[in-house]
């Protein structure tokens, strides 16, 4: 206490001893650990941070605290900054922010969301106005937080005011600013399982894109609702059947009804005629995949925006409820337009019946996939199977008893309204029922966990999935640039350029075939801005990356069990898409062979090769002109590069000094 009489210090005339320590040591501490105090939600968090930075009990003693915990409490209380102090309302009876006011999630000085009414506030505006007014002088204070405030204001557009609707809340701007100095992301040493995985420090998080910056906070994108993969096989087979029927079913039904199936369909001429008739439909369906992708992407984006923007579940519901209908409407409109264009271009006429039927089919497939990706796999499968059953019943009725029998209503419908009435009814009614059934669940926030979490590029892929694969042709837009080039050029997929074809797996082959055919028919525009979305369908079985199901007694499995399962998984993805695709490709190919004989789809290797060869042979026999190099003479084997997501073989288990063979417990040992 007497140390003030050092050399150079002025004499103290009052005789009151001048303390050498600063009057408020906590203040210095507060300034030094400003960031820690600002982001802490709990005094204990400050205590942990202080300890980790080397503060000990004597630090607390310097601040006249008994221990670090009470010092942390004072820091926590004072770290709130001047915002809450002068208000005079101590503990938060939070005054409600209005809807659409984004000030709630965090603010400059610390942890209180500014939802704290200060006296004399305009009630209608909520605390935002007062806070925004406070923002000015306060964020000009020195230190990184001040910079963050400046950044925030610049993001917000106007200095000190104007919370944009949908704009980033304050906390994000601050986080994106220089105030954020956390260590790089990664697996934390003591992993907090939920947070550690979900939290990715995104380098571009300071962008003013609200969805982008908030998406980093949400659970990891691997999540799928539990019903996503249920009934998957049923959906797949139903989809295949529906598409096949949509292509050739009408003609078959007509022939059956007329009682002369043999004359209409047997022989190369009949088959060729059926395939030729299916060309516009196939093309339109193929191109409609792009519109489906776009619609699903739009759906996901809207849902995500609603998730990030709405403050209550009711608000979210009201914002999301019309979105599935609108997305389906977009898709249907695009499909109908494509169909009309295709028919008009290739046939010159636009038949109303088949157009409506195929539109209904596209709508059903789109809805089924959309709904299944949100956890309603069973409902989607039931709808698709219903449609299948109806069509099959119509065919059966026409085959067994063309004029009567128990299936008379269907055959009568086909006879009265034309054969297209059957698929129209069969698809439209289940689609409508599915839509109505799925509207309430789709408006729930819990159905959109994946939608909220997925990065924007992932979204359409998961919204699409396998159902669109047979429609395939995902077309040129499906393939990333190198693969697209190869499809357009010589069409060789045999040695695909490492990454793209590897990422697309086996389905890349039929896709390429269809891409080539679509390219030749000149109907495909390749939007360059959506490269990632199109290989979604084929890749979906791998994207899932599920945790392998635990056996009943997981302790008894060897540690390398996961590895074996993972290594086996890609085989599952070989969809049965090859056959109809090959048919499409062959027919499309034949319809335009005269136009471009030189860039034939020699890329018809892989699983699609054999049926394609058959079809091509039939096309040849049917007398169409074909360039001799069109059909693949010998299907070349496709060297499939190892899938990038296939995990490496598991590391040798256990420490090295103990035999790994003892690691898994045997059943006898466990007893």
């Amino acid at each position: 206490m007497s140390a003030s009489l050092r050399a150079g210090s002025p004499p103290n005339p009052t005789g009151i001893p001048v303390p050498t320590a600063p009057a408020d040591p906590v203040k210095a501490l507060l300034r030094r650990h400003r960031e820690l105090c600002a982001r802490a939600v709990d005094p204990l968090e400050i205590a942990a941070g202080l300890e980790a930075r080397g503060a000990m009990d004597h630090t607390a003693a310097e601040c006249r605290h008994r221990d670090l915990f009470s010092l942390a409490e004072e820091l926590y209380a004072r770290g709130r900054g001047p915002e809450t102090a002068p208000g005079g309302l101590p503990a938060g009876e939070p005054s409600g922010c209005g809807r659409g006011c984004r000030c709630g999630a965090g603010d400059e000085g610390g942890r209180w969301p500014a939802a704290r009414g200060t006296a004399g506030e305009v009630p209608g505006r909520g605390p935002c106005g007062a806070r925004a007014a406070r923002c000015g002088p306060e964020t000009a204070s020195a230190g990184p937080a001040g910079v963050g405030g400046v950044l925030r204001r610049s993001l917000r557009g106007a200095p000190g005011g104007g919370f944009r609707d949908g704009g980033p809340p304050c906390a994000e701007a601050r986080r994106g600013g220089p105030a954020r100095g956390g260590p790089p992301p990664g697996e934390p040493p003591c992993g907090e399982p939920p947070c550690g995985e979900g939290a990715r420090a995104e380098p571009g998080a300071h962008r003013s894109h609200p969805g982008r910056s908030r998406a980093a906070h949400l659970p990891p994108p691997a999540y799928r609702p539990p019903g996503t993969y249920r009934w998957r096989a049923a959906r797949w087979s139903a989809t295949l059947w529906l598409v096949a029927y949509g292509l050739v079913g009408d003609r078959l039904l007509t022939a059956l009804l007329a009682g002369r199936p043999a004359r209409e369909l047997a022989g190369p001429a009949g088959l060729a005629g059926a395939l030729t008739a299916a060309v516009p439909t196939a093309l339109a369906l193929a191109c409609a995949t792009a519109s489906a992708a776009w619609s699903a992407r739009w759906f996901t984006a809207r849902v995500r925006r609603a998730l990030l923007g709405s403050r209550t579940l009711a608000e979210f519901r009201s914002r999301v409820r019309p979105v599935p209908v609108l997305a389906t409407g977009f898709h249907l409109a695009a499909l109908a337009a494509l169909l009309a264009a295709g028919h008009a271009a290739l046939r010159g006429t636009v038949p109303a019946g088949p157009l409506a039927a195929v539109t209904a089919l596209g709508g059903l497939l789109f809805l089924a996939r959309l709904v299944a990706s949100r956890g309603l796999g069973r409902a989607a499968a039931v709808a698709a199977l219903t449609a299948c059953a109806t069509e099959a019943a119509a065919l059966l009725g026409a085959l067994l008893a063309p004029g009567g029998g128990p299936l008379r209503p269907l055959t009568a419908l086909a006879g009265a309204q034309g054969p297209a009435a059957v698929p129209l009814t069969a698809c439209a009614v289940p689609a409508l029922a599915l839509l109505i059934h799925a509207l309430p669940p789709l408006a729930r926030a819990s159905a959109h966990r994946s939608g909220a979490a997925a990065a924007p590029d992932d979204a359409p892929a998961e919204a699409h999935g396998p159902a669109v694969v047979p429609l395939a042709a995902c077309a040129a837009s499906a393939l990333p640039a190198p693969a697209r080039a190869s499809a357009h050029g010589s069409g060789t997929v045999a040695a695909p350029v490492d990454a793209p074809a590897g990422a697309q797996g086996p389905a890349a082959v039929p896709l390429t075939v269809c891409a080539a055919s679509a390219h030749r028919s000149g109907a495909v525009a390749a939007p360059d801005d959506a490269p990632a979305e199109a290989h979604g369908p084929a890749v979906v079985p791998w994207r899932r990356a599920p945790r392998p199901r635990c056996p009943r007694r997981p302790g008894l499995r060897p540690p390398e069990w996961d590895g074996r399962r993972l290594g086996r998984r890609p085989r599952r993805a070989q969809g049965p898409a090859a056959v109809p695709l090959a048919a499409c490709a062959a027919s499309a190919h034949r319809s335009r062979t005269a136009a471009a004989p030189d860039d034939g789809p020699t890329g018809a290797q892989g699983p699609a090769a054999v049926p394609l060869t058959v079809c091509a042979a039939s096309a040849h026999r049917s007398g169409m002109v074909a360039a001799p190099d069109d059909a693949p003479a010998a299907p070349a084997p496709v060297p499939r590069p190892p899938h990038p997501q296939t995990p490496p073989p598991p590391a040798s288990p256990g420490p090295v000094n103990r035999p790994p063979g003892r690691t898994p417990l045997s059943e006898e040992q466990a007893r």
Binding site: A52, P90, G104, H217, S446, A447, A452, G563, P653, R662
Partner: protein, 577 residues
């Protein structure tokens, strides 16, 4: 005795912290049977393999605390519960959500605006007893609280208690529900859970940060809760009649942290009355805070607040219910006391270090001028353990200015591209010979129990250590402790010891004695053996403990028929009355 070892991200997995002492314990207590119930933290950990397990580990059961929920757990996607179950779920989950969204009453300074020196007493008094049935209503401090410290104390203390009580009610209610009806994971992911959570966040007593929650935040919080509460819906809690009895057949639960690893222990205590022992060498709550500072910095406030509340309340619940808690050092003990552990149930058990590899070096160094010890202790080599700190170079420069012959060996990889200063060499790994080469061992500030320092003590080396974590506790009076980050003090300590071989030898011998007395594996294992026996002796005898399938599994005289009437229980002397 059959001990259930409950771990999270630890023992059977080779990639995880805390596996060492579990391995020592399991190998040391070979007269007991162990069942390991492990929660894993990530795919990488599961791929990393296991420790080799000795034969006393009868069984290992694992469950992931990460990734997607198991498919088999879910019934239908929506409406898996009937009406009654939904009602129960809403009630219990509502309690839990209200507790984790309520105003942080434990950090009383935040609520009352009166953080000061009095805050500690208040919070400690408030969070002591969890089992007391406090007011289960809304926390009472949501209104205006007077600005004085006394007013804050009166306003927050019952709130803390009520919050902990509600949390415990909700947790145990959910556990009962999951045990009886299953399907808790699906319910936690359902829309109903979101609604309940939203209502809790908007309730009058809610934390202001939780009040600003949005739908995406609700999804994040509910996903977190689903993962954190996954131990509740595991099939580890078989009934007595089941073939696979799981934790029901275990005599004692030993949890290796007070986090999610202790949840099965809490449930076993609730369902079967199994005593619960919690051992922590690193406070789980503190690790969460540090880790959240590093990992989840991007999470919005409205998500971090409930999650951090959940961790805090879960720790308090575990500390409150555990029969015995063994912290690893004094700092862990302080945290545990702060978080609600009763002082009389705390027993500090220091971690053990296997002393055998260091025996030759330690004994060789014991002789002051012996033929073995002389070439080892050359009187000019300093050994630095751990990553080099910036002030080390200043200190070494000062030492070298005074003693030009001094050299420094640093354990660790040299920094790429930088030429090491004169007299500095790097070593790859620590071996006993490494300690033998150093005359004085220096240690920087580490954030855990200083095990390398203990190894140096086993080698009989004099140490100069920065005052951090548990260094004083480990070193005691057998080494020099200097302020952290002070090059002058470090250099002075080094010079003192370098210039005084007698003092060095004295300190080294004392250090070895201390380490042999306090930090051996044997002592560690013996402490736990005693604690196990003490716990099991206090636990009530379970009549259904024997397996009826095993012939003669229950001795005839083990449970003689006793009548517990008060008359029979109180002996009377013959002839008196």
């Amino acid at each position: 005795m059959r001990v259930g070892l409950l771990t999270e991200g630890g023992y059977p997995y080779a990639a995880g912290e805390g596996g060492e002492w579990c391995d020592q314990l399991v190998r040391g207590l070979d007269q007991h049977d162990f069942e390991v119930y492990a929660l894993s933290r990530g795919a990488r950990q599961e791929r990393g393999g296991w420790y080799g397990l000795p034969k006393q580990v009868r069984r290992v059961r694992t469950a992931p605390l990460w990734g997607d929920p198991p498919e088999g757990d879910t019934g239908r996607a929506y409406g898996a519960y009937g009406r009654r179950e939904r009602q129960r779920f809403e009630e219990h989950f509502g309690e839990l959500a209200a507790a984790i969204c309520a105003t942080d009453a434990g950090g009383a300074g935040g609520a009352g605006g009166s953080g000061g020196p009095g805050g500690t007493d208040r919070a400690r008094g408030g969070s002591g007893s969890v089992e007391a049935p406090g007011a289960s209503g809304a926390p009472g401090d949501s209104g205006a609280v007077s600005g004085t410290a006394e007013g804050g104390a009166e306003g927050t203390a019952p709130s803390t208690e009520g919050q902990a009580y509600r949390f415990a009610e909700g947790l145990h209610g959910l556990a009962d529900l999951a045990r009886e009806a299953g399907g808790l994971g699906a319910a936690l992911r359902s829309e109903q859970a979101l609604r309940t959570l939203e209502a809790a966040c908007r309730a009058p007593g809610a934390h202001p940060a939780a009040y600003g929650v949005r739908v995406a935040d609700l999804l994040a919080v509910s996903a977190f809760l689903e993962r954190a509460l996954r131990p509740l819906s595991l099939d580890w809690y078989g009934a007595a009649g089941d073939h696979d009895r799981g934790l029901a057949a275990v005599d004692l639960c030993h949890a290796t942290s007070a986090g999610p690893a202790a949840l099965p222990g809490l449930l076993a205590k609730r369902f079967f009355g199994t005593p619960l022992l919690v051992t922590e060498y690193e406070v789980r709550l503190r690790a969460y805070y540090l880790n959240s500072a590093a990992g989840s910095a991007g999470l919005p406030l409205a998500v971090r607040t409930p999650i951090s509340s959940f961790h805090r309340l879960l720790s308090a619940e575990v500390y409150g219910r555990a029969d015995l808690i063994t912290p690893g050092d004094a700092r862990v003990r302080r945290w545990q006391e702060r978080c609600g552990a009763a002082r009389e149930r705390l027993r500090t058990v220091h971690p053990g270090v296997d002393e055998r590899p260091y025996e030759a070096v330690g004994e060789g160094a014991g002789g002051p001028q012996g033929p073995v010890g002389a070439p080892l202790d050359d009187g000019r080599t300093l050994l630095w353990l751990g990553p080099p700190e910036p002030h080390l170079w200043d200190a070494f420069a000062a030492v070298r200015a005074a003693e030009p012959a001094a050299t420094l060996r640093v354990v660790g990889a040299p920094p790429p591209g930088a030429e090491p200063p004169d007299g500095v060499t790097y070593e790859e790994a620590v071996r006993p010979e490494t300690y033998a080469a150093g005359s004085v061992v220096l240690a920087g500030a580490a954030d855990a129990f200083p095990l390398p320092l203990v190894e140096a003590m086993f080698c009989g080396r004099a140490t100069v250590a920065a005052d951090a974590c548990a260094v004083r506790e480990a070193v005691g009076g057998t080494g020099l402790v200097v302020p952290p980050g002070d090059p002058g003090a470090l250099a002075t300590g080094c010079l003192d010891l370098l210039r005084d071989p007698a003092r060095r030898a004295l300190l080294g011998a004392a250090a070895r004695e201390r380490a042999l007395e306090l930090f051996t594996v044997e002592r560690h294992v013996t402490a736990f053996r005693g604690i196990y026996l003490e716990l099991i002796s206090r636990a009530p005898v379970r009549q259904d403990g024997s397996d009826p399938a095993v012939p003669f599994g229950r001795a005839a005289g083990a449970h003689p028929p006793l009548s517990w009437s008060p008359r029979a229980a109180s002996p009377t002397w013959a002839g008196r009355s």
